[in-house]
Symmetry: C2
Subunit: 175 residues, 2 copies
């Protein structure tokens, strides 16, 4: 009997850092698109797909925060704080870089006690999620929700992105 396949949670969080670096690259493409079309790239930050959805700037910030808070809750290592006050693409890229630096500073050993964590939320007092439920059913879906919305807003506004700009860290090997 072979043991069922398991995936280390450190791998899942490290992948979020890869994805956030991809997201920063989308903003480089947005800046190039704006330059070619002679508009200010920072105007994209207020773009949104529905009037009661977050604009791009908050989609970017929420992707960052979902990743860093997942890491912080699982490792107990405090994450850097970021206000939602970004005014420019450069500001957003700085927030992404700061988040990625925090995530890259964590090691697999930092997750040694992750399975014991009780995951709480300010909006759900007196309750907690078990860490596997939190990672699989909240952190990963919420991260991609905001990441994909950021991508979709940029695509909707003409930025030249494709699926391979979204997928990060594929390691193809020879058969």
């Amino acid at each position: 009997m072979v043991a069922a396949m398991q995936i280390d949670v450190a791998t899942t969080i490290a992948h979020m850092a890869d994805q956030l670096e991809r997201m920063a690259g989308w903003l480089d493409k947005a800046r190039a698109h704006a330059t070619a079309k002679k508009f200010d790239a920072d105007t994209l930050l207020t773009a949104r797909l529905a009037p009661d959805q977050f604009a791009l700037v908050r989609q970017l910030g929420s992707a960052c925060d979902t990743a860093k808070l997942a890491a912080a809750r699982l490792t107990g290592k405090a994450a850097p704080g970021h206000a939602d006050d970004q005014k420019s693409v450069a500001d957003c890229q700085a927030r992404i870089a700061d988040t990625v630096a925090y995530l890259r500073g964590l090691t697999p050993a930092d997750y040694a006690r992750a399975a014991e964590a009780k995951i709480t939320f300010g909006w759900m007092p007196g309750k907690y999620l078990e860490p596997a439920n939190y990672v699989v059913n909240f952190a990963v879906p919420n991260f991609h929700f905001h990441l994909a919305h950021a991508y979709a807003i940029l695509r909707h506004n003409g930025v030249d992105l494709g699926k391979m700009d979204y997928l990060a860290g594929l390691v193809f090997k020879d058969l």
Copy 2:
């Protein structure tokens, strides 16, 4: 030394079935919205956010296929085939239900040899991904890419959805 936290791949795939059931529910809300606004809900299937992105009908189908192909590749259990020929919301919900039934029919034991799989793609001949890289870096991100695009298309067209329609299977416990 506590072992680092691991998540069973069967849990990750089972969560995809939960998410697909949520997606079917979004289509119920789309139908209700269309009825209230007196338009044919099936017209939403051709809606897209950019002219060179998939329309809703293909976003729905791609989410289904990403989940079922991940399960099939990891378990070796053949998945049901589906053509991209859905003409109605009802057709799409039938495809989702068929995919969910396949996923729900798998057991954790079916994944016993998943870690040995070499994951290949028709578009990358002679190459493979190791299964953990495939799950974390391809299957899960690609699944949410299409799921979130389906959600965003519906939101962009006025369907009344919120974040808790996206997140599935949270099990809050008392502290």
